[in-house]
């Protein structure tokens, strides 16, 4: 019974979390390997449970009820196709991250601040996916939030990290509150919190709509949906890199799971305006996230913003699925939802890969600012090529996996003319355009990230003396890279595996992917469109091989005469190289005035004045300025006004109680 094994493994993770502080106190040297090794093994068991439940059919699925938690509810757990799919995403990421951390954790200065919370964080994420009642779900969710908060605060000496932790805690509490309200509405007056009971209710349409809004606020804030993403680029980079990978690659997917579980599974029939809301937010997040990412100088923050973009893409797919589901287009809805979940899985792969690369750069050189890096391809070749692979995947270039899922989402977008609602017929192509824009900008963003970090000459002594990472770290990245390639070249089996999920969510499935010819996949039917990652891969290999041969034959043997100041590098100072800011400048010119209110101030000294000319660029975060700053101001103002209440006399307090009582009685008297 996989579910029993899964729950036992979760208990094991919790046990590791309890034992970890003792280990840290006793034997410093071994604690890291033991904790991460145990996490690796347990995550592998959980991964097997998920795989068997998803691939093995209903014999390996199931649910259990344990007599823990609230006495009249108990704790329900379920392993159905949806939770199995996300269990795989969570635990594959967790497994690889644990493996990576065996190497990475050796660099940790205070392992006592990371080791106990890491297995607890894994346990929390697994429990969220496995729970089948609202109470257990919320407890696990909060457990996940708090343990990840503790991990964000691991390096709390940096005031920026403390601020990140504070913002994260605020947003996490807000999100949980929203989820609490959503489940409260779903449970109805009888208060039966088991998912099976909630599913069987007949939900009132406007209540379901309210639940959707609350889920967008609650799960959306955890997933990093704009404009609730503000905590994400602060908190994800603040954690140790393997935790950043988990938070960005996996925890956001847990939030996506929560959204899917409630909106597709529990909240009843969708209305078409749901799709409008979800599509708009998803498209907005995708573009806003990648625009921010293009401009970042901090490598890990860049990756965090790119997470916002990818979550936006996932939500575009989910919005499409809602649009098709509400119009009873099961095949199209199945395509959209499968593409979404597949993209979530792909993103967990390449985002982990990229965060691991950033972690290697960080441990190798101690630097996160890409303007101070450069030339790392010579010092850390394996990291460089693996990072390049991750960049290709996330930029949605064939034959890697990012392309497959984004192509499938675009295929779903192409089905939108069949929708009856005009609003959707206009909105869906618009969001498709946004998706294409986001994909193009993401490519620019990662060309910049890779080029500035790994190519050219080192821009600082730290980059000059960088060290290649340990074998554990590199091998973890190889595993991810291999899977990125496999999922890109042979996507068919992955899509087939997801068909029970889409069957349970939207009542339809994508066509069974035939193995032949050339491992192509077909989203709708063979006559419409198909894609063969294998053929593309084969042609890319052949073309590259041919190009290399040709260049080698004609260029390598030819005698070259080069002037001594060639290639624009007459000055040996690395500061003359192309910088990250200059790379991003054209994009900033185009989108800056709109998205960031960019302003450039030039100070030209008068002729004869010896002061240097200055060019000052100011970018503003509009989301922060127009949503969060006024909110903060209002809260502060109210707190300031209410502060008087702290300093009243006893009689005034009694009078307040008295006045409140009388007021309520008057209300009762007038209303009754």
């Amino acid at each position: 019974m996989p579910i029993a094994a899964a729950l036992l493994s979760v208990a094991g993770l919790a046990g590791v979390a309890v034992v970890a502080p003792i280990l840290v106190a006793r034997r410093k040297a071994w604690a890291t390997s033991i904790v991460y090794g145990a996490s690796f093994v347990l995550a592998a068991v959980l991964l097997l449970c998920g795989l068997s439940a998803l691939l093995g059919g209903s014999a390996f699925q199931g649910s259990v009820q344990l007599p823990i938690g609230l006495p009249w509810i108990g704790a329900h757990f379920v392993l159905d196709p949806l939770s199995a799919a996300f269990l795989i995403i969570v635990d594959f990421g967790a497994m690889i991250a644990s493996f990576y951390a065996i190497g990475y954790g050796a660099h940790e200065e205070e392992p006592g601040r990371v080791l106990p919370f890491y297995p607890a964080f894994l346990a929390g994420m697994n429990l969220v996916v496995l729970s089948a009642d609202a109470f257990g779900f919320l407890v696990a969710w909060e457990f996940m939030s708090l343990s990840s908060w503790a991990l964000v605060m691991a390096h709390h000496h940096d005031p920026e990290n403390r601020r990140a932790g504070y913002v994260y805690l605020l947003m996490a509490s807000f999100g949980t509150l929203m989820l609490l309200l959503a489940f409260g509405l779903l449970a109805g007056p009888n208060g039966d919190y088991a998912f099976s009971a909630i599913r069987s209710f007949e939900h009132i349409p406007w209540i379901s709509g309210l639940v959707l809004v609350l889920m967008l606020l609650g799960a959306g804030s955890k997933a990093g949906l704009a404009p609730l993403h503000v905590w994400l680029p602060l908190a994800h980079p603040a954690a140790p890199s393997h935790v950043s990978a988990l938070m960005s690659g996996v925890m956001t997917k847990v939030a996506v799971y929560a959204f899917i579980r409630v909106v597709f599974d529990l909240a009843g029939e969708p209305a078409w305006w749901w799709a409008v809301t979800v599509l708009t937010l998803g498209a907005g997040s995708a573009v806003l996230g990648v625009l921010h990412a293009v401009l970042q100088r901090d490598l890990k923050r860049l990756l965090a913003y790119s997470t916002v973009e990818n979550v936006g893409i996932v939500f575009i797919g989910l919005g499409l699925a809602l649009a098709f589901k509400t119009n009873d287009m099961a095949g199209a809805a199945a395509l959209a939802v499968t593409a979404s979940i597949f993209h979530a899985f792909n993103h967990s792969l390449f985002k982990s890969l990229l965060f691991f690369g950033a972690g290697n750069v960080l441990t190798g050189s101690g630097e996160r600012d890409i303007e101070k890096l450069g030339g790392l391809v010579h010092r850390m070749p394996e990291t460089a090529y693996l990072f390049l692979g991750g960049c290709l995947a996330i930029s949605a270039l064939p034959p890697l996996n990012g392309f497959v899922s984004e192509w499938l989402i675009l295929q779903a977008i192409l089905l939108s003319p069949d929708l009856p609602q005009w609003a959707l017929r206009f909105l869906v192509p618009a969001s498709g355009a946004m998706l294409a824009l986001a994909a193009a900008l993401a490519a620019a963003c990662f060309v910049r990230a890779f080029g500035i970090t790994f190519l050219s000459r080192p821009r600082s002594p730290a980059a000059e003396t960088a060290q290649e990472a340990s074998r554990w770290q590199i091998r973890a990245m190889y595993a991810l890279m291999a899977l990125c390639l496999v999922a890109g070249v042979f996507p068919g089996p992955f899509l087939d595996a997801l068909s029970p999920v889409s069957q349970s969510l939207v009542g339809g499935a994508m066509p069974k992917q035939p193995i032949l010819p050339h491992f192509s996949i077909i989203p709708i039917s063979e006559s419409r469109s198909s894609y063969s990652g294998f053929l593309v891969f084969f042609f890319i290999l052949m073309a590259s091989w041919a190009a290399i041969r040709v260049i080698h034959n004609f260029a390598s043997r030819a005698v070259r005469r080069a002037p001594p100041w060639d290639c624009g590098f007459p000055d040996p100072s690395p500061a003359t190289q192309y910088t990250a800011d200059s790379f991003a400048q054209p994009i900033r010119r185009v989108f800056g005035p709109l998205a960031f209110r960019a302003k450039i101030d030039q100070t030209m000294p008068l002729p004869g004045d010896m002061t240097p000319a200055r060019l000052t660029l100011s970018l503003r975060d509009l989301v922060w300025e127009f949503i969060y700053a006024p909110l903060e101001g209002a809260v502060l103002y109210a707190a300031e006004r209410l502060n008087i209440l702290q300093f009243l006399t006893i009689r005034s307090y009694l009078s307040l109680v008295f006045a409140a009582l009388v007021l309520l009685l008057v209300l009762v008297a007038t209303w009754a």
């Binding site: 006399t649 009694l654 109680v657 008295f658 008297a669």
Partner: protein, 220 residues
């Protein structure tokens, strides 16, 4: 008989409201204690009448507790306390008597307006008892709010509790255990408050609660 029992119950409960009003305008402490004793006596009569009408013998125990504890022990103890504290000559002037009485009348009217429709289905004795009990509670609160002297505030609190007992006995079926435990908790509260009064007095040379605030930190 039905009619008579109803009228008598109303008379006694109304008497409590009346005595509450007497407490409101009593600005000498010893006089206030006497009126409070009278309040408790009326309460115990009312509870005893309820016991007789409802044929619920355990309510007699309640009445006895009210009589012994609230009409004798607590007033006598407070009396001693006042004499020992030497505040028996103090006269409180908080607000005017007139406005306070007017507010009290407003509160009684409010509780009638609230309770009579709210408890329309209850039997008449319970219904009007509830309304009058709510008046007593509100008047006790009003007294706590308008007084500065800690002892008067304690008396206000006790009369509020009398109102609660009245409400509880009017509604049938409150178990004796609850009644006894409430009575003892009041006694414990009384002891604690008494101890505090002496401590406050020892520290600040006054039991005027306004004076306590002058010693508080953190005032702007």
């Amino acid at each position: 008989m039905e009619r008579f029992s109803l009228d008598a119950a109303h008379l006694l409960a109304g008497g409590m409201v009346l005595v509450s009003f007497m407490m409101l305008y009593q600005n000498r402490i010893l006089g206030l204690l006497n009126v409070f004793a009278a309040h408790a006596v009326v309460l115990s009569l009312s509870v005893a009448w309820q016991a007789y009408v409802q044929a619920a013998p355990h309510l007699f125990v309640t009445a006895a507790i009210a009589l012994i504890l609230k009409a004798i022990i607590i007033p006598v103890a407070l009396h001693h306390m006042v004499l020992r504290l030497g505040v028996h000559r103090d006269i409180e002037t908080v607000g005017g008597i007139g406005p306070t009485m007017l507010m009290g009348m407003g509160l009684v009217a409010l509780s009638m307006v609230v309770m009579l429709p709210a408890a329309a289905e209850a039997d008449p004795i319970a219904r009007e008892d509830l309304a009058l009990a709510l008046s007593v509670i509100l008047l006790g609160l009003l007294m706590m709010v308008t007084r500065q002297n800690a002892i008067s505030q304690v008396v206000g609190f006790m009369s509020l509790e009398n109102g609660l007992v009245l409400a509880a006995t009017g509604a049938r079926g409150m178990p004796l255990v609850v009644e006894i435990s409430v009575a003892f908790s009041v006694l414990v509260a009384f002891i604690v408050i008494g101890v505090f009064l002496f401590r406050i007095r020892e520290r600040f040379d006054t039991i005027d609660t306004q004076a306590l605030d002058d010693f508080r930190e953190g005032r702007e």
